[in-house]
Symmetry: C2
Subunit: 491 residues, 2 copies
């Protein structure tokens, strides 16, 4: 362990040196990406064969010791054989924070790769180097405008993502914003030759900007330290973990990807049980669950009301909720009577799920329905299933002008303008304190549009999370509820 | 049971009478929908209060007996109280094929609804009426241009869909084409007061146009007849069944939707085991599995090769395949050696999954890779995972002109024009006889576009099924393999 509080400087560097910059634009162009992201510090491209030339307005340097000021962060992007020499140069230049982007080490599985990775570890220990990687994408910190990706969500947030896969880290950086998720720090650490997930956990435990920690893990070097840390941190900051390679095929893939030992499924099950960390099984679920943690007041129990349209969909919805661990109890007699007093019985189901599609085409009926459902003591959360295809594209387009759908156009217009506030009232203004979730039901063909994104963003801005299927919504809600049940029981 | 071979005429009617047509356009406008679909027979709107008027160029009739020729199909769209009288009118007019669209019967659960449904059954038995419903959408037959929906896939196909939910039937009609699925007959039958799923199975068993039968079932009246029929038919025509309401909440929803008895999960498990019918759990899976049956040669086993890009994605992919029941064996030494001779080891994984994203940006490498993988005796199917976001929108758009992505633009262009033929060769021209599946990896946010649809259609036209996630692809492939294993063992 070479952990050091000085590692903080790596997240807020004033100077970044990049070793192995080409003379011409290339695929992983860290200089271009830093400039595009608006990094305000100084960038030093290193390439001994390009001295005297410039790239994107920056002078090339032959090596790290020639750089005229202290280097806060070094990115190494050279062939694997040259990496040990570059690390020696780091020691000579007193540069301690290093991201080895270069691949071709333990993950390749050949003798030379393993030998080189052992050499990296030896030099790091000798020189006190804090190394990310090899074989990783390094750091993405919106507040510092540093990133190795060519896309940067400029908005800082409260979520940290610690990932052993650069691809997964990149996807989170690209897609987080669409889920209303913004990041404090994204750390891609690949082979974990020197710094491992446990080191980042220790750092993030006390990081003021981070309120929630997400992880993609393939293997862990010190299992008992990892378990102790997660158990401790999870009491205050929820820790959401995607463990890759829990099947036999997946475990073999892990060995080839980051050279980690995959670990047994039983061991991980015991880990989750002991720590209360939230287990997710895919990128999709990681984003879904994180959105639930960020946007939902915690439901008091797993008892939910499901409001949607269509009898077959109600049956499917009940099955989906039950499989996810949400319970759809029969509403109280008072609620059923109140709803039955103004909703016609034909073509509807005043049960739970509520097949009362009529509320989506009559704004008054929607408002009148919400009140008794939200007040029902048997219900702790409300899920609205809105079929995307039934919503007019915009309040001015031809669909909304269509005589048959015009009424819905009017309702949707009011929904967007006014009811959002009304819906939020239940969630935010402390009337019922019951969380509301929107499910935008897409086609099974997955066809969506900019319109879908627009609808999602409008709801998110109103503080209401939007899911693209009931399965994803109910699974995420169930995980949130389980987390808080664990915390209550652990107290 | 009032089954009769004369029911055939309901699927190819020359005359349709619609009872309860409004004077003005309205939401379920069966007259408009039949006209829009291009129905060539005669349509008779019935409304005693509108006699002397016209709707969409058609003269209103006061009742069925006034219609001047034999009526092949009657659609009843009146309030529930009037339905028995309309049925008596059917008997008087000697109209035997009836679709009761009207709802408000057993599914409502009130005494009057049950009484009225019992009355419907009594009249049907007395008059020998073949009744679909009540509470259903009836028939959709592209070849006859009859439909109750406002959208019609004009292309006839070989798949029948028998659905107790009108909403699900409508979704199939809308979305089937996007999955390359076209229908012989879609039958929505709601409460099944008179004709039940078993009656339609008997009909479809000998229907020349139908090669594959999909069903959405909430309950079955005659379980042993149903089991016997499915077992028999499934030997020749695959039967794919989505049973709704297998959880407790779902079962309650079923009672409210179509008034069916839901049935125990154990009973249905035994049913699937005995009949070999393919079990699916959602609309999405129903369409995915049907596409696999239509487009894939049956793999000889569950051993597959997964070709994709990204280490983390490969780990996730291996986990997903394993959970679906596909096995990703290590490739033979010969294959690994051949691939290793031209694919660089750094940043790739020449294992299975194959993390060789390089083949997607170098057309020659793609072609060179396909050959040894397809020839590997340990592999019985090939899955390509293509990240949608890495494909240029079109060969002329700015992304393709981008210096960094231009090469991929060229490759994609060739992929579209030439490699399709090449890929198809493996599948169709009997070279390796190993099925190929494309997975278009979307974002977790579900964002897609017309571009996605275009890519899907191009592959489908080349005979290659396209799935929107590896989970959906591997699950569908596994179901196809299991079906054929059952048939082999049953022989």
């Amino acid at each position: 362990m070479v952990w050091d509080p000085e590692f903080e400087v790596a997240f807020h560097p004033k100077t970044v040196a990049i070793v192995g910059v080409s003379r011409r634009p290339h695929f992983f162009d860290f200089v271009a990406n830093l400039q595009t992201a608006g990094f305000c510090g100084r960038i030093y491209p290193i390439n001994p064969r390009a001295v005297g030339e410039e790239y994107r307005g920056l002078k090339f340097y032959p090596d790290l010791v020639s750089v005229p000021e202290p280097i806060d962060l070094v990115i190494i992007s050279t062939p694997r054989e040259t990496v040990p020499a570059v690390l020696e140069d780091c020691i000579a230049a007193n540069a301690k924070n290093i991201h080895i982007f270069a691949a071709g080490f333990r993950e390749v599985g050949d003798a030379r790769g393993i030998e080189l990775e052992d050499k990296v570890v030896e030099i790091a220990n000798r020189g006190g180097l804090r190394i990310l990687g090899p074989n990783c994408m390094g750091l993405h910190v919106p507040a510092s405008r540093i990133t190795t990706w060519d896309e940067l969500d400029p908005e800082s947030g409260s979520v940290a993502f610690v990932s052993q896969s650069g691809g997964h880290a990149g996807q989170v950086v690209r897609e987080g914003g669409r889920f209303g998720i913004h990041f404090s720090k994204v750390i891609s650490f690949g082979n974990a030759a020197v710094l491992d997930s446990t080191d980042f956990l220790e750092y993030l435990a006390t990081d003021q900007e981070t309120k929630l920690i997400c992880m993609y893990i393939e293997g862990v070097k010190d299992g008992s330290r990892f378990t102790r840390l997660v158990k401790e941190i999870n009491r205050g900051k929820p820790v959401i973990i995607w463990k890759g390679g829990l099947t036999e095929s997946g475990s073999r893939a892990v060995a080839s990807h980051t050279g980690s030992l995959g670990g047994e499924r039983e061991v991980w099950n015991a880990f989750y049980k002991q720590t209360g960390a939230v287990s997710v099984g895919s990128m999709e679920e990681l984003l879904d669950v994180t959105m639930a943690f960020l946007y939902l007041r915690t439901p008091a129990s797993c008892r939910a009301a499901l409001i949607g349209a269509g009898g077959g969909n109600s049956v499917a919805g009940a099955d989906i909720c039950a499989r996810s661990g949400l319970y759809l109890p029969t509403l109280t007699e008072v609620t059923l009577k109140e709803l039955g007093s103004f909703i016609p019985p034909e073509g509807t189901m005043i049960k739970n799920p509520l097949d009362i599609g009529v509320v989506f085409i009559d704004i008054n009926m929607l408002l009148r329905s919400l009140d008794p459902i939200a007040a029902d003591p048997l219900i702790d959360s409300i899920i609205f299933a809105l079929p995307l295809r039934m919503l007019p594209r915009s309040i001015t387009d031809s669909w909304a002008d269509d005589a048959r759908l015009g009424r819905m156009g009017v309702v949707w217009k009011e929904l967007r303008r006014g009811v959002f506030d009304n819906l939020v009232k239940f969630d935010r203004e402390n009337v019922y304190r019951k969380p509301i979730v929107i499910v935008l039901q897409q086609s099974a063909g997955g066809f969506s549009s900019e319109f879908q994104e627009q609808v999602q963003q409008e709801f998110l801005e109103a503080g209401i999370p939007v899911y693209l299927s009931l399965k994803r919504a109910s699974r995420a809600m169930a995980k949130l509820i389980q987390y808080h049940e664990f915390r209550r029981e652990a107290q």
